[in-house]
């Protein structure tokens, strides 16, 4: 049946939807915490408000949203796309093993966070030390995702054997590039966690070097951003034009975009460490160049996706310069969510260019601006896209009609508006010097007053975001439990104007992986080696929570 793209009712669909379910459960829990954090920063009193609860929630919200929600969602989406486009998932048992490892890891890490033993935030910078199970849980989550990547690559290899000389369909091309970025990214994290944090947290070694740990963390931490963004791009390129009735404007450039991410997404980590000692300004400048270069694929995406949507409007007869926009399916919750997510990314992109600018970064580094920034990027561009994608995935995976469609239509607007208020407030507060991650915005007398109006507005934005989350989770639960059983719609992807039919430069995934590895070596080998050869003094652990 799968050659028609209908997969509901199959074990493969069950595998995919199980991942989506865990992702949304994590999202729901983290959404409540997010709202309470917003209230706390604005000094709104609520029962049980305390420093320890606030910083515990910052940790849990970050881990659940940035690592658990995203990773599980992307794994589920990857399985669905793979089965729909390649008609196979090779290694179902391994896939389930990966799922359960990731679930067990998440539960273990969440247990140590919610019992107050790992209030180290999702960046877990040493020498602040978490419970060993926090690091081990995170490791299991990542190993689970590695098995997922392996299963999708095995499926691709098997498909290649049946289709020699053919380029893989575009959506799967994007997912495979995402997996390559994920392997490149997590190699840095694995080094940090396996060889530094776990031995140190078990007491096998006494001290740890914080700058080397931070460097390895950001080797992982920035490509992590593209791990979130690339699946969103897959949906924008291959599903959004289909739903709108358009065509993929350029198959070839879409493939190029994903390859550029493979090459450029990792050698950029120092732009998170501009304010760090121990790394020379020259190497920070090198990473600035690669960071700006990675704007390029996003510029191309903006053109190609919008051009693909314009085709939809033209096919419906729109003639003027802009009136094709009105013909797009704005009442479709999937389309609406994606479109608003794309719009948010233009703001996120402006902010990102400022963060990456070597000198200007000093104005915003570690201020509330950064928090405002990643809530329009990860928190909207990726998260809202994934929410919209859920409205598209559930009927196709469960064979049930979407319920509470009215709520699903309001939800993206609520998210967009709530985030607009939230993010704008914290961008401005950050420019005025409000540090990020503070229990209370009323720091030192006068400064606190200057920020009060902004943090209050941020809290209102947070409440609107929570209402949006409530709508989203309600739609998911209602659809999952009592959506009308219907004949499942098919997975269908946008047809390119000019399909890529033979293997081209941008389809050589193995070669580009090697280029990606070389880029990491060029970007990190010298500064890391210099640091390792400098006489250094490690730090003992601290648990100030």
């Amino acid at each position: 049946m799968t050659s028609t793209g209908v997969i509901a009712g199959t074990p493969q669909a069950r595998l995919a939807v199980s991942h989506i379910g865990v992702a949304i459960a994590a999202f729901g829990v983290a959404a409540i915490m997010g709202m309470l954090q917003g209230l706390s920063i604005a000094d709104v009193e609520f029962p049980m408000r305390s420093e320890s609860l606030y910083y515990m929630f910052v940790t849990a919200h970050g881990v659940l949203m940035a690592l658990v929600f995203t990773t599980f969602f992307i794994m589920g989406l990857g399985y669905a796309i793979c089965y729909a486009q390649l008609q196979r998932i090779v290694g179902m048992k391994t896939a389930w093993l990966g799922f359960w490892m990731a679930v067990v890891g998440t539960v273990a890490a969440a247990y140590t966070i919610l019992t107050g033993q790992s209030t180290v935030l999702y960046t877990f910078y040493p020498p602040m030390q978490a419970h060993p199970l926090f690091y081990i849980g995170a490791t299991l989550l990542v190993i689970g995702s590695w098995l997922w990547g392996g299963v999708l690559i095995a499926s691709y290899v098997s498909w290649k054997k049946d289709h020699p000389g053919q380029p893989v369909p575009m959506a799967m091309h994007g997912m495979l590039a995402t997996i390559i970025v994920w392997y490149l990214a997590t190699s840095g994290l694995a080094w940090e966690v396996l060889f530094m944090l776990i031995p140190w947290s078990m007491g096998w070694v006494e001290t740890i070097d914080p700058v080397i740990a931070r460097t390895l963390f950001w080797w992982f931490g920035h490509p992590l951003v593209y791990f979130w963004l690339m699946p969103a791009y897959v949906l924008w390129y291959t599903v959004m034009p289909r739903i709108a009735g358009g065509r993929l404007f350029s198959d070839k450039l879409a493939r190029m975009v994903f390859i550029l991410f493979v090459v450029l997404s990792t050698p950029v980590g120092f732009h998170h460490q501009f304010a760090d000692p121990g790394i020379s300004a020259n190497w920070k400048f090198v990473h600035t160049i690669t960071t700006f270069a990675i704007l390029f694929p996003s510029f191309v995406t903006a053109f190609t996706v919008i051009a693909s949507l314009e085709i939809a409007g033209r096919l419906k007869g729109a003639k003027g310069l802009f009136n094709w926009i009105g013909t797009l399916p704005w009442k479709d919750p999937f389309f609406l969510a994606m479109a608003l997510a794309m719009l948010s990314f233009t703001f996120g992109g402006f902010g990102g260019a400022i963060n990456a600018a070597y000198g200007m970064n000093s104005m915003v580094h570690n201020t509330a601006w950064i928090m405002g920034h990643f809530h329009v990027t990860l928190g909207t561009t990726s998260a809202l896209t994934f929410m919209g994608a859920t409205y598209w995935l559930l009927p196709r995976l469960l064979g049930r009609e979407l319920k509470l469609v009215g709520l699903a239509r309001i939800q993206p607007w609520l998210w967009f508006i709530g985030m607009g208020i939230f993010s704008t407030s914290f961008h401005i507060a950050g420019l005025r010097g409000l540090p990020r991650r503070v229990y209370s915005g009323a720091l030192a007398g006068e400064q606190g007053d200057a920020w009060a109006a902004l943090t209050s507005a941020g809290a209102i934005g947070g409440v609107v975001l929570f209402l949006s989350s409530l709508c989203f989770v309600s739609v998911v639960i209602a659809t999952w439990t009592s959506g009308r059983k219907v004949e499942a719609p098919a997975f269908e992807f946008a047809i390119p104007l000019e399909p890529v039919t033979t293997m081209g430069l941008w389809d050589r995934l193995g070669m580009w992986t090697i280029v990606g590895i070389v880029m990491i070596i060029l970007a990190y080998a010298y500064p890391l080696a210099t640091l390792i050869m400098t006489p250094r003094y490690g730090s003992p652990p601290f648990q100030p929570f």
């Binding site: 935030l121 450039l253 121990g278 300004a281 390029f296 053109f303 400098t534």
Partner: protein, 159 residues
């Protein structure tokens, strides 16, 4: 397969913009020394108390009139506090941490550096306005992180 002419123009435009951004950053870095704090110097956090400079961190004025401020960031304060420096004079800040990672951000200025145990952060800045400034820790350092605030008093000038 060809690339559409408008898309081709768009890509040249995007590439040009990126090159322009980088040129501005590169030129200001070289000509105006607009660079992030990137000092490389290590220090033993375990023996910080006996360290000649950071054992008792102070504001020091050298024989040439150069002002050096040594700062220890620790849970949940900066030492010395308050810091007193003259206006319109280059001030070199040297910062380290006695425990976890902290931030050192002088609110209302571009001064923003990490205080990392085992390392010394260093940058030089000139205050052009006298008055009181707040220093905030901008890296989570424990349950009283939000209360870790210090003061800088900039004195002198024509007030």
């Amino acid at each position: 397969m060809s690339v559409n002419v408008y898309e081709r123009l768009w890509m040249w435009g995007a590439g040009g913009l990126i090159v322009l951004f980088l040129a501005v950053i590169g030129i200001t870095a070289v000509t105006q020394a607009v660079q992030p704090p990137s000092h490389i110097e290590t220090i033993n956090p375990a023996t910080l108390m006996d360290h000649p400079e950071f054992g008792d961190p102070q504001v020091k004025v050298g024989p040439d009139g150069k002002v050096t401020v040594s700062v220890v960031a620790e849970m949940f304060q900066f030492r010395p506090d308050p810091i007193e420096v003259p206006v319109n004079t280059p001030v070199m800040f040297r910062i380290t941490s006695a425990d976890v990672v902290h931030g050192f951000q002088i609110i209302g200025t571009n001064a923003n550096a990490m205080a990392v145990p085992g390392y010394v952060s260093q940058f030089t800045m000139t205050f052009t306005k006298a008055g009181e400034y707040d220093i905030a820790c901008n890296e989570y350092c424990g349950l009283m992180h939000h209360g870790m605030v210090g003061k800088i008093t900039v004195t002198g000038g024509q007030q």
